[in-house]
């Protein structure tokens, strides 16, 4: 078993992502996105994708590359404001969008991974996102029923993996990645370093390898920064 999760190339790792697939993609803004896997998917040209991801990249990076290439049919996201191509495709009707509050989106993905088909949250009650959703009262307060999400594939970015697929993330690049890993029927993890099983501390593993089917070593990460805010010493 030990090395069977290690893929030889990004091309190989995504070879069975076919037209119409549902993908859950980690990252927040451009932080912690699986940039190599997204690029490989752009090269493959898979169409009609449903993509579940908090954001949709920017015009020329991250999921924005798939948008520009017209590979995405539908986005399930909480915030898509950084992307002009998104706006064009949405207004023209090419792109379907399901806006979901960020916390609800995170919980829906975790629920999908955890075998929970639905849960209740107060988030969104009395707002446009409540339209068409079942409501229920608990202890006199109204809640919306939200559904778990499972993806055909999950694309995640971690800092390190071991050969069994155990993952650790770095700082706020963790974000949606551990949840995506749980909710993909096949989870593809790209990482900056791969170590032997046993080199990661068992108490410090963020994503147990059971959730990860394919591991890839990425190199030359761009890790673009959206808003560089600094002080001058």
């Amino acid at each position: 078993m030990k090395n069977s999760k290690l893929m030889n190339s990004f091309k190989e790792a995504i070879s069975d992502i076919n037209d119409g697939a549902t993908l859950i993609v980690g990252g927040f803004g451009l932080c912690g996105i699986p940039e190599k896997t997204i690029q490989a998917l752009k090269e493959k040209g898979t169409k009609n994708l449903t993509v579940v991801s908090n954001n949709c990249g920017v015009d020329d990076w991250g999921l924005g590359l798939l948008l520009a290439n017209k590979q995405i049919k539908k986005m399930i996201s909480s915030y898509v404001g950084e992307n002009k191509i998104f706006e064009q495709q949405f207004l023209s009707g090419e792109l379907e969008v399901e806006l979901t509050p960020q916390g609800t989106l995170a919980e829906r993905i975790r629920a999908g991974g955890a075998g929970i088909p639905g849960f209740y949250t107060a988030t969104g009650v009395g707002t446009p996102i409540a339209e068409g959703k079942e409501v229920k009262e608990f202890d006199g307060k109204t809640y919306l029923l939200e559904r778990g999400i499972v993806g055909d594939f999950a694309l995640v970015k971690a800092w390190k993996a071991d050969t069994l697929g155990n993952l650790v993330y770095h700082k706020t690049a963790r974000n949606f990645n551990p949840l995506a890993a749980m909710a993909g029927r096949i989870t593809i993890a790209e990482v900056e370093e791969i170590v032997e099983a046993g080199e990661l501390q068992p108490d410090e593993i963020h994503t147990p390898g059971i959730y990860v089917q394919r591991i890839l070593l990425g190199t030359d990460y761009q890790k673009r920064i959206e808003k560089r805010t600094v002080v001058h010493a």
């Binding site: 927040f28 803004g29 451009l30 932080c31 912690g32 908090n54 996201s77 909480s78 915030y79 898509v80 404001g81 706006e87 949405f90 207004l91 969008v97 806006l99 509050p101 960020q102 916390g103 609800t104 989106l105 995170a106 919980e107 993905i109 975790r110 949250t121 107060a122 988030t123 969104g124 009650v125 009395g126 707002t127 446009p128 996102i129 800092w159 993330y169 770095h170 700082k171 706020t172 690049a173 963790r174 974000n175 949606f176 990645n177 551990p178 949840l179 963020h206 890790k223 673009r224 920064i225 959206e226 808003k227 560089r228 805010t229 600094v230 002080v231 001058h232 010493a233």
Partner: protein, 230 residues
């Protein structure tokens, strides 16, 4: 506290008035979430003798100042996607854990921007029909989960129309969720009995507040006292 880069602090006086007043809401030991934009600036006005931990909904408790130029880390950003640092005792977690904290009532106070607030405490701050929808991000979760929700905004829009409404005209972010509204003119609380004016900002008359507010509100018996303290 956030050591804002030069330029960012050149905000209009009205905004500075709001931000300074909002900072007074933050007490020692609180866990605080500051929204993107004007609320982020509140961090700079928190007195130095007050220790708080700032939460960032992308997975961090313990936001620190902006990094020194050259030391920015692309793996370390806040919810506004700005490069930041952490304070000692900070922790990282995933987005589900982050919103478990928020939704579960563990955040003491959230300060959010607003487009409109209604007299029953409804908030609209995420979309304008006819304009491109960018999304609500974490705002809808924050207004339901935080122990205390403070909205900060300018009292009137660019056309001089009141943003403090009887009923919101924009789609809601949350219904009956605002605990306190701080504008450049006044501070209001929202209670089961209704909306109450509790303070006017320095140099602002009760008449001006009344004239620029569409919402019906009561006046706190201690209102004048608050003005005298100033």
């Amino acid at each position: 506290m956030l050591n804002l880069p030069k330029g960012a602090v050149n905000m209009k006086d009205t905004r500075l008035t709001i931000v300074k007043r909002a900072a007074q809401e933050i007490k020692d030991g609180m866990y605080v979430n500051l929204g993107i934009g004007m609320p982020t600036l509140v961090a700079n006005e928190i007195p130095a003798d007050i220790n708080v931990l700032l939460q960032s909904e992308n997975g961090l408790l313990g936001i620190g100042p902006y990094p020194i130029a050259g030391q920015e880390d692309p793996d370390l950003i806040n919810a506004g996607k700005e490069t930041i640092t952490t304070v000692p005792g900070a922790s990282f977690f995933d987005s589900a854990e982050s919103f478990a904290m928020i939704r579960g009532g563990h955040i003491d106070i959230s300060i959010l921007g607003g487009m409109e607030v209604s007299e029953n405490g409804d908030l609209a701050n995420w979309m304008i029909p006819g304009k491109m929808v960018k999304g609500m991000g974490g705002a809808m979760d924050l207004v339901h989960g935080s122990k205390r929700v403070i909205v900060i905004m300018e009292h009137v829009n660019k056309q001089g129309k009141s943003k403090v409404k009887k009923v919101c005209s924009l789609p809601l972010t949350g219904q009956r969720v605002v605990d306190r509204l701080i504008t450049d003119l006044a501070v209001f609380d929202f209670t089961p009995e209704g909306m109450i004016l509790i303070e006017t900002q320095e140099g602002v008359s009760l008449e001006e507040v009344k004239a620029k507010t569409d919402a019906s509100f009561m006046i706190s018996p201690s209102l004048i006292l608050v003005e005298q303290v100033k």
